[in-house]
């Protein structure tokens, strides 16, 4: 189905199932421990052996020799595959680091061997017996030191945000120089780790030259293509299966060393092999969100109108890596005639930087939305009002191009009222509650809506059960449930009559889970397949498909009604289709919007920061399942608190690695850090997005949150911190004398 004209009315608009807060259909499995994740598929294939991955102990250089005799003769060892036995393997699409093969070390904890043994304990012990002769080479590990040598580089993160190396509209320098009120500040954001709870894990089994991977991956079709390319085998010989994925956040967009080494280990051992990356290996072996250094300049008239805005960002990566596109949102978010954005990339020999939840916008808004807060203060205008003044209904770079639907102002007004923003003391450092200095902050959230093709198959059986099959993944996003809701709405059956099967590359290729594109596109794919199935049902039952009404397990037209199941009495009906998009997204800009509000307390003595209240008001098209969508937003808000207050991969700039590479060292928020979170979705639809009229929310939820927290810290203390995370050491010397 080609979607190239705005959506009209369809059965989806009945909203009998779609749009209703719905418990997850996979909930009873997840809560009872019966939802199987990759490493747990004892049922999948017999005779599984265990693999253990060894990581490089140096950050850059070569391996001269690996001494394996002790490991090979260790009890239970079945096979060892080393990077020296293996020619350098190809890379999957959109990746910079090589996953395995050859003597060259590109980054710390790069995989250099897999040991396969009868048991996990044996594989782990044997891996520790491998001795490696390294030849270390000097590397570049310090972004601050390398930033002056950074080159202008354009980028598309591959997950939605893109920007040229430089974009200019009007004459920024002249306008900025002439602006009566100006801001010119620099901001830094940290390297962050996805730290999903389920480690990267795979069971690999070969059957002749056919390979099956039970794995944990967000993008099944990408993964299938990538593993085929990496291993040099035809894609049709590969099957991936990932019905449950224990979190990804971008860290499982791509094939990682677990899948490659399980496959190589299984080949070498002649047995199926299961392995998981150990937690201490993950931060340096896989990808991370790169740190940025951002400079923002804003010029405005005294009435608050922005006349000039510039946003430049520098980040680092391996050769062939891309810059973090932190300036992307600044091209679209606020009005202003004179504009400049620029991206620069420094070469670093740290692990690969790549997509993490809202790549580009998440770090970009951390900086931009502090800058907007600072500018509002300079202007003496309320921060909410300042943003409303500079709202735009058109793409500021191409004013002929409108936003398909943009109600950022609605988010801000509704949010300010609900949060009690009028109680905010404009003068910072003036509210005290016991030991706490209390402040309010707000920021705008913005993330583009991305359209990408997505296919599905729908079956109707003789009992009237509808089965959806697509390689879409549910990484916690609620895909199972919204796909079931879509099929139920379209086929006129209750949710219980829908069965959803996901994550298998044998199913039609979906949009996958990334870039907050999953919900809208994958449900639109199921919609398309259901339209075909309805036609098949109508034909079978002798209805005119245009007139047939599907409701209450029946098909009706005029005064004739037939049970839906009857259409399949002679055998299952199967329909498959794909949603594809025309150029609607080119003609009009599709984005999602939020107003984030936060109240924090800062301990007047120790500068410990604790979040007391949070609110997000989101405008993101039709919300397919308000219950799971709300969870996506609160989860993203939680990750935003992490980015604001604690998350930082600490770089050892001498040795070239992330030092705090486990969950004790890399702190993410715990229960005690997160208060009750309030989320509101504005009631809207966007007919330009798809037949579902929906957009994404999962990344919108993190965009801007950290800045709202940072602005609240400023409001509480009068101390402006421009380096994330806002840990107490950055405030302590500037707080007033302790009592």
């Amino acid at each position: 189905m080609k979607f190239d004209t705005p959506a009209g009315t369809s059965p989806i608009d009945q909203l009998k199932v779609i749009g209703r807060p719905t418990d997850r259909i996979d909930g009873k499995y997840k809560t009872t421990g019966t939802a199987p994740y990759a490493y747990e598929r004892h049922d999948a294939v017999p005779n599984q052996a265990y693999g253990f991955v060894l990581g490089s102990a140096i950050a850059k250089g070569r391996i001269d020799a690996m001494h394996l005799s002790d490991a090979r003769s260790a009890p239970g060892v079945l096979a060892i595959v080393t990077t020296l036995d293996t020619p350098r393997l190809g890379r999957g699409r959109m990746n910079a680091a090589y996953l395995f093969g050859g003597p060259v070390i590109q980054h710390y904890h790069q995989a250099i061997a897999v040991v396969v043994a009868e048991t996990f304990e044996q594989a782990r012990a044997a891996a520790h017996l491998i001795r490696v002769d390294y030849r270390q080479e000097p590397g570049k590990y310090d972004l601050e030191a390398e930033a002056p040598h950074a080159e202008p580089v354009a980028s598309d993160s591959g997950e939605g945000s893109g920007a040229p190396h430089e974009a200019r509209i009007g004459n920024f320098e002249e306008a900025f120089a002439a602006a009566p009120v100006k801001l010119d500040e620099s901001y830094t954001t940290s390297d962050e780790s996805h730290a999903m709870m389920e480690p990267h894990a795979t069971i690999a089994a070969w059957n002749g030259d056919k390979l099956t991977l039970w794995t944990s991956n967000q993008m099944i079709a990408w993964g299938k293509g990538s593993i085929a390319k990496i291993l040099g085998i035809p894609a049709e010989n590969v099957r991936l299966d990932a019905p449950y994925v224990g979190g990804g956040f971008g860290g499982k967009l791509f094939i990682r060393a677990d899948a490659v080494l399980a496959a190589l280990g299984a080949k070498a051992a002649g047995r199926p092999v299961k392995l998981a990356l150990t937690r201490p290996l993950i931060a340096n072996n896989t990808t991370h969100r790169p740190a940025t250094i951002q400079r923002i300049r804003i010029g405005a008239n005294p009435d608050g109108t922005i006349t000039a805005i510039a946003h430049e960002s520098t980040s680092g990566n391996l050769a062939d890596g891309k810059p973090e596109t932190a300036v992307d949102q600044t091209r679209l978010l606020y009005a202003g005639a004179n504009r400049l954005t620029a991206l620069r990339l420094a070469h670093l020999d740290l692990p690969e930087g790549n997509a993490m939840r809202a790549p580009g916008e998440a770090p970009g808004l951390l900086a931009l939305e502090i800058a907007m807060d600072e500018m509002a203060e300079k202007l003496g205008i309320d921060p909410v009002q300042f943003r409303i003044i500079n709202d735009t209904q058109v793409d500021p770079e191409k004013p002929e191009r409108r936003f398909s639907h943009r109600d950022l102002v609605g988010c801000l007004r509704h949010g300010a009222e609900r949060f009690g923003w009028d109680r905010r003391q404009q003068q910072p450092g003036h509210v005290r509650d016991g030991r706490w200095l209390v402040g309010y902050g707000m920021a705008v959230g913005f993330r583009n809506n991305l359209l990408t093709k997505s296919a599905a198959r729908v079956r109707l059986d003789g009992r009237g059960m509808v089965t959806v099959e697509t390689d879409m993944t549910d990484i916690g996003t609620g895909s199972y449930t919204i796909l079931a809701q879509t099929a139920a709405e379209m086929m006129g059956v209750p949710l219980e009559m829908v069965n959803v099967r996901l994550g298998d590359s044998a199913f039609p290729a979906s949009a996958g889970s990334g870039g907050q594109w999953g919900a809208n596109n994958s449900t639109a794919g199921v919609y398309a397949a259901c339209v075909k199935l309805r036609e098949a049902v109508a034909a079978k039952l002798g209805f005119n498909s245009a007139e047939a009404v599907f409701a209450d397990n029946e098909v009706r037209s005029g005064n004739r009604s037939v049970p839906l199941a009857a259409a399949a009495s002679g055998g299952e009906l199967v329909a498959e289709d794909m949603i594809e998009y025309g150029d609607l997204a080119k003609k009009q800009q599709q984005s999602t919007f939020a107003g984030h509000f936060a109240e924090v307390g800062v301990d007047a003595a120790t500068a410990e920061i604790r979040v007391r209240r949070m609110l997000a008001v989101c405008a993101a098209g039709r919300i397919l399942n308000p219950k799971s969508a709300r969870s996506q937003v609160i989860g993203a808000m939680t990750m935003g608190v992490g980015a604001a207050l604690m998350e930082k991969l600490a770089v050892d700039t001498k040795r070239g690695f992330f030092v705090n590479h486990d969950l004790a060292g890399y702190e993410v928020p715990v229960h005690a850090d997160i208060p009750h979170q309030d989320v509101v979705f504005l009631d809207e639809v966007d007919p330009m997005s798809s037949p579902m009229k929906a957009k994404g929310v999962a990344e919108l939820g993190i965009c801007g949150v950290g800045a709202a927290v940072a602005n609240a810290v400023y409001n509480a203390t009068g101390i402006r911190v421009r380096d994330y995370p806002l840990t107490l050491d950055k405030l302590i010397e500037r707080l007033p004398e302790a009592v």
Binding site: A57, P280, H661, A672, T727, L728, I732, E733, A738
Partner: protein, 316 residues
Amino acid sequence: MKAFTYERVSSPAQAVAAVARNPGAKFIAGGTNLLDLMKLQIETPTHLVDINSLKLDGIEATPEGGLRIGALMRNTDLAADERIRRDYGVLSRALLAGASGQLRNRATTAGNLLQRTRCPYFYDTAHPCNKREPGSGCSALDGVSRQLGVVGVSEACIATNPSDMAVAMRALDATIETVDADGKTRAIPIAEFHRLPGDTPHVETVLDPGELITAVTLPPPVGGKQVYRKVRDRASYAFALVSVAAIVQPDGTGRVALGGVAHKPWRIEGADAELSRGAKAAAAALLADAKPTRDNAFKLPLVERTIATVLTEARA
């Protein structure tokens, strides 16, 4: 994890004998630190002596009017004990500030005293660490050191002791009771129990090899307002950047000990004497010979400010 043999013992005498018989043996109780380190082959015992059945998990009054805490008493039970809550509040508070509910349910009193540093270079076997591999060097000195020590440090090691419990016990002047393979017992004041790193950071306590902790005794209650304040980025389930255990008497005198700043719970008797003059004076005495790194210099003002807020709370 290297292969090891395992046995269970049911008395302290059997326990010390079992370790004495097996070079490379270690006692295991809660296991929450030892197993963590064994998985990374930072600890590589060849034999484990499981002492969980030793019946050292009780608490009893001493003739002097204090309490004798069994070495195997779990952190949860110790923190919840009525007498501890009533008379040694700082200890209850310190225990409850540590780790998580799950870990406190396993971790024991003696194990907590012996837990090893959380220095990231100690935990990463790819890099030199004098504590892990004597003589190999200290990576933290020119590495990432935000969490690490500021006082009592040496050129060989700037690691910190991660315990909360031990800081409170230091303020309470606890005594550690042990037995060795010959059946000899001794009582070690906690002030002398943990060592500074010096040139031998791998030697963390004064225990002899194979010596078993059997109990920790607390002197009779000293009264006063007892406060334990742990400062950290994350609100829970995180090690201290700095912690302060204080016991403040109505007349303003008292005791103060620090966590998160040194290789051992940090108390300077001279600082106690300064306490009635205020936080600045006490902090100056505690941190007199501080040698912070660029990363952790913030701990110095943080200590002073935390003592200040603790004193305010104690006097409220």
